[in-house]
Every structure is written in structure tokens, then in C-alpha cells.
């Protein structure tokens, strides 16, 4: 008996060590990637790099048009996907009953979340660029990114809405509130931090995507800022792809610098979302 207990103990210890090792091997490269890009990219960052146009076939100068372009695309994506996504989440959490059609909506959302990003690119090309004649433009790219982002926003928002206690709704209705008043005055404000977190995480993904904008709005090189939604635009992820694969004799520093700016753009969204979430949890009254 004694021996078998010792044996079990040993197996457990071995098992736990193995799992710890697996977890650390998963996490360690993430820190390496971030650390390495910061280390190699930091020397490239200067005011000129952030505020100037590219020169010498992108081998010198700054990356302003790519930064501004990614900003435009992110905002454009938000304009379409945020209202639609939140409204869809409200429908699923507050109005929809468990019917066949509701299940169909849920399956559709799961599938939208799984469609490869390059397929979204094809769809955007077929529908927005060609069929609706938007051309390769910020508008077409933003719409494409919006539909890709939609499932993330819907899922996160629905979860946040469902977390609001049912009793608040019942009380509001019993005091003479309509369903919409109840949603607008209680449910939405209480779910807002959760919704915001989901929205930012969705937009973070959109900001870092390349494949959906390849054929819908990304410009290889554009030595000026876009001045209408119908213009094509440079974008940070696509620019990084271009200068690391398409341009010979590209200085490493510019490549790492661009990667770092993209990383900062995306990570700061991630951090903002995390901060909103943890602050809301601390302040929550239920």
C-alpha cells in the first residue's frame, strides 16, 4: 500500500511538472516575440519615422500614410460593425426566444467567426469592390473588415448583456418601464464595460489583419494621405508585409520599426480593453 501511495505521488509530481513545462513553453515565446521586436524596433522610432512620408522606394523616411491608413480602417470598421454588432447582441440576449431561427442565427455567427480572413477578402472583392463598384477603397476594406469583426462583437456583447441580473429587468418592467426603456436605462449601461472590451478586442483583430484588405483597399505605396473613403490606403500590416517580402534591400531597422509601431497599435488596444474590464469589475454594484 505504502509503495503505491508513493508511486501516485511521484506520478502526480511528474505530471504537474510536464504541464507546467508545456504552459511555460507556450507563454515564453510570446514574451520573446514582443521583447525582440521592441529591442530591434525601438532604435528606428523617431518623430520623423512616425510623421513623414516614405522616401527612396520606402527604404527611408517615415510610415505616416500607413499609420493614418490603419487608423482610418479601424474607425471605418467601428462605424459599421459596432452599432450592428451591439444591436444583434441585444436581439439575441433580450428579445430572441429559443426558436429554430434563433438557432440559425447562432450557427451563422459561429460560422462567420470561422471563415478564413482571405475568404473575407474575396467576398469583399466580389461584393463591395466589383458588384457595388466601390473600387479598391477605404470604404470597401472597412465594410469587409466589419463583417469579419461582427461575430467577435456580437459574442462579447451578448455575454456582457446576459451577465446583467435578470432581477433588474423585472423590477424595471414592474415599475412601468417598457422593454426598450429597460434596455436603454439599465441593461445597456450596466453591460457597457463588457461590450466595450469586446468591441476593442474585435477592432484590435481588424487593425492587425492583412488578408481581408489585400484586394479591397490596401495600396502598395501611396506617398500622400487618403482624402476620401473612396481612396485606397496604405496600412501598417500590409506595409510590413510589403517591406519584408516585396522590396529588395530593405533596411532591417525600418522593418522592425514598422513591426513595433503595429505591435504598439494593437497591444495598446489590448491593454485598454483589459483595463476597462478589470476596472468595471471592481466598480460593479452587483
Amino acid at each position: 500500500m505504502k509503495r503505491s501511495y508513493a508511486n501516485r505521488d511521484l506520478i502526480q509530481r511528474l505530471g504537474f511538472s510536464l504541464l507546467t513545462l508545456l504552459a511555460l513553453t507556450t507563454v515564453f515565446p510570446i514574451l520573446m516575440v514582443v521583447g525582440y521586436i521592441i529591442k530591434e524596433g525601438a532604435p528606428a522610432i523617431s518623430w520623423e519615422f512616425l510623421s513623414a512620408m516614405p522616401r527612396d522606394g520606402m527604404r527611408a523616411g517615415g510610415i505616416l500614410p500607413a499609420i493614418v491608413g490603419t487608423l482610418y480602417l479601424t474607425i471605418g470598421t467601428a462605424i459599421f460593425s459596432v452599432p450592428l454588432g451591439i444591436a444583434a447582441a441585444i436581439y439575441l440576449s433580450e428579445y430572441a426566444r429559443d426558436t429554430f431561427l434563433t438557432r440559425l442565427i447562432r450557427i451563422a455567427i459561429i460560422n462567420l467567426a470561422g471563415i478564413p480572413s482571405v475568404v473575407y477578402g474575396l467576398f469583399g472583392l466580389g461584393l463591395f469592390v466589383i458588384f457595388l463598384r466601390f473600387g479598391t477603397s477605404i470604404l470597401a476594406a472597412s465594410l469587409t473588415l466589419s463583417i469579419m469583426t461582427l461575430p467577435v462583437i456580437i459574442s462579447a456583447s451578448e455575454e456582457a448583456l446576459r451577465a446583467v441580473p435578470q432581477a433588474f429587468r423585472t423590477v424595471s418592467i414592474s415599475l412601468g418601464g417598457t422593454q426598450w426603456q429597460t434596455i436603454r436605462r439599465i441593461v445597456l449601461p450596466q453591460a457597457l464595460p463588457g461590450i466595450l472590451t469586446g468591441v476593442i478586442l474585435g477592432l484590435e483583430r481588424a487593425a492587425g489583419e492583412t488578408a481581408p484588405i489585400l484586394f479591397t483597399g490596401a495600396a502598395f505605396f501611396l506617398p500622400r494621405l487618403p482624402d476620401s473613403p473612396m481612396d485606397a490606403t496604405m496600412a501598417l500590416p500590409y506595409h510590413l508585409f510589403v517591406i519584408s517580402t516585396q522590396v529588395p534591400e530593405m533596411p532591417f531597422q525600418i522593418q522592425y520599426g514598422t513591426a513595433l509601431v503595429l505591435l504598439i497599435f494593437v497591444l495598446s488596444m489590448n491593454i485598454i480593453a483589459t483595463v476597462i474590464r478589470s476596472r468595471a469589475r471592481a466598480k460593479r454594484q452587483w
Partner: protein
Amino acid sequence: MVDKIVIENLSLTYAEGNESLRHINLKIAANAITVLFGPAGGGKSSLLRCINRLNDLTDIRLLQGKILIDGQNVLDPKTDVIALRRKVGMVFARPVVLPFSIRGNLTYGLELAGEKRKSRLDEAVERSLKLAALWEEVKDRLDDPAVALSGGQQQRLCLARVLANQPEIILLDEPTSGLDPISTGKVEAALQELKHQYTIVLVPHSVQQAARTADYAAFFLQGELVEFGPGRDLFTNPKDKRTEDYVEGRFG
């Protein structure tokens, strides 16, 4: 005695769950406390939720009969349920304060109806808090979050919140079930004051509370109304064997 609410042959079955009501006939007097009591699952809460149509939020398989308030059948689909719920306020078993300030909780119902005038809102806050015997305890911190109040204070705030709407009928579903005896006493005392102006329907959380508070009492058992009468008679001299057994604690 005026009958404020007349329930005629009311039957109810939910799509899920066991609680139901069968052929209920009951007259509820104005300016009195009518107590609906009996073992859990007897249909008391369901009846309350029919009176203010809160059951609209639940899946119902069958609903028959009439509930007349001032002669109007509130189960009629054409009823303005928003107006009905303003006229018939409800306090729930667990104190549910909304995630606002104390003041925000009290003005919520009026704001829903579009009241924006600050003087009216302030007046309603003070009046309703006084009626619920909470004014002295909170008058200096009306803008504090309502969750900071104790459980007993929260439940009186919920009562005040209903009163701010100036209802005619107040439904209370085991309002003191989570409270200590002192808080319970305060709520009961407030109800005794309120009954002079309002019609009160109370589901008590114990037979003792039923006996203490009832002007009229109705004993419910498994969806049926077994016995109804003035509180005095029903608790001291029940006519039905089942009522007697329950009141004397032989089951429940």
C-alpha cells in the same frame, strides 16, 4: 367595504414548472391588507404576478378568467400594461436595488413616465421615503449608491420606489423573507400605516406574519383557494380542516 380587485374564475398553467392556479374567485378590499398564504408552490406569487401582468414575461400555457380592477378586466389584451403597472406596484422577495443612487432608484419610475421637473422628483423622493419610514435614515445621503444600504433599508427603499409612482395597489411577495426581526417589524409597521391609503396584497413569509398583519386572509394550497375570510376568524377559527392543520403547524 369597497372591492378594489375582483378575481373571477381565474385559472393559470405555465409552460414549465408545476405551480398553477385553478378556478380562483376572490375579492380584495380597498384600504386593507389582504394576505395570501399557504405552503410554497401554492400559487400565491403567480396570482400576484397576474394582477400586474408581470406574468407576461413568462411562458404561459393557459390563462382563463378575469381580474377586475375598478371594474376593468386587466387580463384583456387591450389593457395598457404600462399604466396598469404604474397603478399596481410590486415589492419582491429579495430587495433588488437598481445600480443607481438612492435618489436614482426613487425617481426611476417617474422618469420612465417622462417626468423631468426637478421639483416634482424631489418632492416624490421625500414623500415616498417618509411613507416607507426611511427618510430619517437616508435624507443626508440621497446621492450615495443604493447598494450601500443594509438589507432592511434596501427593502424599504424598494417599497418607497413603488410608492414614488403613486400607485393605488401594492403587491408584496414575501418582502421580509431575507430580513432580521427588527427590519421586518419596520416594514410591517409601514404597511399598517400605508393601508389607510392603499390596497395592499401581501404574501407573507410565515404563518405568524400572516396572522399579525392580515385584515383579510386567503389560504392557498396546490393552486386552489381553500378558504378566505377576515384575518381574525381565519386564524382563530378556521372552517376548513386543511386550513386548521396548516395554521396550527401540522404541515407546511
